[in-house]
Symmetry: C2
Subunit: 337 residues, 2 copies
Amino acid sequence: MKSIRSLLTLLTVALVSQTLYAQDPLPSWNDGPAKQAILAFVKEVIDKSDPKYVAPEERIATFDQDGTLWVEHPMYTQAMYCLERVPTLVEKKPELKKVEPFTTVLSGNREAMAKLTMKDLEKILAATLTGMSVDEFSAEAKKWLATAKHPRWERLYTDLVYQPMLEVMQYLRANEFKTYIVTGGGQDFVRVYAEKVYGIPPEQVVGTAGATKYGYEKDGKPFLTKEPKLLLNDNDAGKPEGIHLMIGRRPHAAFGNSTGDRQMLEYTAAGDGARLSMIVLHDDAKREYAYGPAQGLPDTKVGTFTQALYDEAKKDGWFVISMKNDWKLIFPFELGK
Amino acid sequence: MKSIRSLLTLLTVALVSQTLYAQDPLPSWNDGPAKQAILAFVKEVIDKSDPKYVAPEERIATFDQDGTLWVEHPMYTQAMYCLERVPTLVEKKPELKKVEPFTTVLSGNREAMAKLTMKDLEKILAATLTGMSVDEFSAEAKKWLATAKHPRWERLYTDLVYQPMLEVMQYLRANEFKTYIVTGGGQDFVRVYAEKVYGIPPEQVVGTAGATKYGYEKDGKPFLTKEPKLLLNDNDAGKPEGIHLMIGRRPHAAFGNSTGDRQMLEYTAAGDGARLSMIVLHDDAKREYAYGPAQGLPDTKVGTFTQALYDEAKKDGWFVISMKNDWKLIFPFELGK
């Protein structure tokens, strides 16, 4: 009897949540222009009698990652990974211990680290992201992501994804969209967790990508090595270029949060049929962060939402998502609280 | 009454063919080791109790195109396209009329054209495949493919696909595989017809790819221009490298026909779980062509199936598909004859 009752309870819960979902596919969004824009867009896309109808095979949606799908402050997660890999790297190659910028990173002196140049960072990226097989890299990144924690929330980085954006991705997929990540971050890094965290398979992750080199192990088994040679810088104009390379279709919806997403948002908005370009404004210092000149705040090194971007958004009919006003909650772990 | 009877007939035909298909998913294949290898592979992949079971999300199959999915003799179709584009190109840029190799191509002198060097061909490729927007290129290629005909069969090139391979692709997709084309041919060229001809969408076409450049039209509308800069040479080692870049997973099945596919076939065969690597041997001079040293025939410029490739196939457990012995028919237009 007990098991039948449990089953009935489960069924009821399932039915109720399904009904709730059917009523509101975006439950973590406050009612407002951003939410209405998403709902109106999907309505146009799927309505065959609407002149803006989009055939299912053309339903492509692209999402920037850092600052659009998960927290990018105080530093990009992948940059954190690279810095934290340096001690392990130096264990394997002790000669690097006395070589800059590795000496500074090993010192742990934050003030000195903040002064590292772009060229220093490139050296750290090349040393920690290349020179190993693609399988070794995946295994290392996976291991780090399972334990490393964000300094503010003391939670895994993969816990710090935005629940409202997960709902948008699910809603679009439920309406036959293929969802892609199009990130300035490393393609191989994001592929490690994108399926589990966002429901996006590796083949739908477009990112900054280096070359690989085919070779053979001693036993003749073939493998690919990650090379320090850039193939695709998936930022700015590199985003539509990367979309053409990897997808070959112009997206109908795109989501970003910084000047690095500008061209992707323009390219998406400029096509025929229903189009949706949206940018996330980080204006919630309490629940997340507030930054960017559009906020009347000083520019920061990451996630630059400039006044010019804000103006273009208004001019081109993109929608600005205010974290503070549009989102009921930020992270999945706040659900049911 | 007549329309009801027609409907009933249609329904009966549909049911019968569905039943036949269920009985034999590869009706254009003769019973033999190649057909049995495909059936045995799929059986392992989908059987959860089999140690070689493959989870649906990992079911990736890759197909070379020229010589594997369609005719590559007497010349790659895309090379034919480039040569036939030269007159139109010269109309727009008359200064090229007196410049080699364009003068030779315009002359129509086959003997002189056969002597063109690799460098000459590269100039023709760059001039006919780049310098226009990606949309212009697609429109031009589409127009050509709708009218240009193969000299031997006097049929559209897209009619000259191999029916037995279409059946393999359908059979794999029916078993939750994602099918990809991985071709040395131009990615943008193949994308123009892959969905219609093979049921493969643009985002599942991996090919030799050039860079594009983002820019704006006079009215501010953004577009992408095809640049004469090679990003991915999708031949030889470039095939597994391209697969990593574009798909990010090792395929479980791969199909090729030449030394340019060797590394893809090796890479596929070397992974865990069920694996299938197959090569098409062109040994049917009557119904298609016979070429390659493995045939005891002189080497040709295209589709080289060398003795070394044949030996590696035997050693590594790849399966050789004999067009002559394994295929009941070659082209879709022979069906029902």
